[in-house]
Subunit: 374 residues, 2 copies
Amino acid sequence: MLGLPPITVMSAFLVIPRADHDQLVIHAYQARGFTATEAAEGAKLAAEAARHGIRTHHALKALHLDDLFGSAVGGCVPGAEIEILPSRFAASERWNANRKLGQSVAYRAIDRAIELADQFGIAQIAVDNAFHYLWGGGYVMEAAERGYFAYTNCTSALAEVVPFGGKFPTLGTNPHSWGIPRAQTGDFPIVIDWATSTVAMGRVQALKREGKSLPPGAAVDAHGQPTTDPALVASLLPFGGHKGYGLSLLNEIFGGLIGGSLPTLRGRQLAIPGEKNTPVFYFQVIHPEALSGGNFACSRNQSDNLAAVIADILGHGNAAAMLPGQLEAAARQRSDAAGGLLFTAPEIAEFNDLAADLGLPAWDPATLAKVPLE
Amino acid sequence: MLGLPPITVMSAFLVIPRADHDQLVIHAYQARGFTATEAAEGAKLAAEAARHGIRTHHALKALHLDDLFGSAVGGCVPGAEIEILPSRFAASERWNANRKLGQSVAYRAIDRAIELADQFGIAQIAVDNAFHYLWGGGYVMEAAERGYFAYTNCTSALAEVVPFGGKFPTLGTNPHSWGIPRAQTGDFPIVIDWATSTVAMGRVQALKREGKSLPPGAAVDAHGQPTTDPALVASLLPFGGHKGYGLSLLNEIFGGLIGGSLPTLRGRQLAIPGEKNTPVFYFQVIHPEALSGGNFACSRNQSDNLAAVIADILGHGNAAAMLPGQLEAAARQRSDAAGGLLFTAPEIAEFNDLAADLGLPAWDPATLAKVPLE
């Protein structure tokens, strides 16, 4: 053992107390002109993403996106007010977000959809002129923790995905997120949450750095021809062929109906006068009692019946199968047990760059608690 | 040319006038004890499936399913009445279908959900104790033709699909269907409609007959190991890995919340007292106006905006990409141009067997109009 190098910081996650994380992130948002409430909502979503192991959508990504597409260039407008348009439909609302911070809009939409679902059993909020909301799974997870079945989709900023059978990227990576409550049986919420592209563009770049190939059917080159070489990748393909393509199309259809403009213009500088380049959000909440036929086998109640169905699916030798949301629930347990949010040393270094820009003290890796990397 | 054999019946579709088709199918349903209304609704869905080229879900499949799982064994109850349970949620209804013919239940659910969506913008009908509804795409297509955005899913009769990461089939092939209206711009409805298994069990049997292999990742053998040999296939896999698995799970979650019992018992003889073996249906209808932010680029209206979005997606050299529902729309044009429903000679022979059983005259292939096979 003596010949081995000492354990370096890279081999562990460093633990940042949530209050410290939130203070820095709130500062960063406020320095960009966001209100205290917006900053707190942005920090909340970022903290929840980190807490649940969503390493691609925590604070560093959120602030990076704001630099690229957000408050720095007008895609996001600090302090913007949500305009609730009149609706003749009692269970539906139409919002003009006026490019307000996506996290603030999404948390409010979930709150309002829950209020409406309490009354109508199902409710929807359609949001035009949105900005990025980062992690759709976070909002439906919150609704699920409050006892509701929730769904959201959005149109992604850039068209990077080629329609099935086509050659040119005209679709966003267009994610879908569903959250299903299971608190009454003491279980973590099921959260089904993924983009409709086979892989993310960030994953392609990672494979390129690592000298690895993509799986077949994940991407095409500049000529629209399939490639597994990350260096040649120009665009992504939808997962699951025509089926994933249909799911990606669905977000564009919501976009078209809500008020999004041409997907190939979205998130880009507008070259065509009169067009729009903002994404849309769609939220839906269902009250589980509105679904219940009230006649569950073996006198089970609704929650116990769902638990019995899930146990059957994961039984019969299927113990190796996981539920969507299981990894997130495990990451959350790990974070909570560690007493904070887990980041890698390079992430801490990035946070410290941010702190330096804001004139705040750096986090000292030497003094931070550590937990082993998974 | 003289040396070529004459064109055989196999090389063409035979055209059955819709009235003749409906008469036979209605007769078949009524002979099984279904009411005149149920028989007409069963014939309507079967005719629409055939008209739209859905060769896997037309009358022969419907009647075959009824033999295997339906009125012959108590899975479907002719003349059953739908019981509408009290709901405290104004935009939601909960129905006990009492195993009524699935097509009758589904058409009524779409009608009622449209009425509710007119009032609330969005509406849902949850149906417990259902029977097979055959072709989910048919119901959402009808809603779309009437101007509504519709969605349905159901739990499939048999658990044939292995959860991602598992070994044993505990999930149905669990389809999802979305219909999107486009009549205002003179376009066919977009209909996204597929099972969440990579392939159907019927396709595996066809590949076996043809001596062909399955695509990788589509199925497993009796030991839960991946196989591409159709002769070794014991169970199917979800499409798109964990993503399709999540979508399949979603139907089971609706099932668990509505009142379905253990997926591995569904559609089978009940060995466990007190359990249920009936599938569930879920229907949702959205009024498109409830989604509109009213602020479309270039002064477009909502329909024109959706058309512009779709044109952008299929533009840029993507002409070879198709819209979901395009093949069905082409088949419908072909059927309507031919003046009836198109069947192959073996299908006509099966219909004639059915007619003989019912004491009805056979259709004479020699006298039927023909159109070339696609």
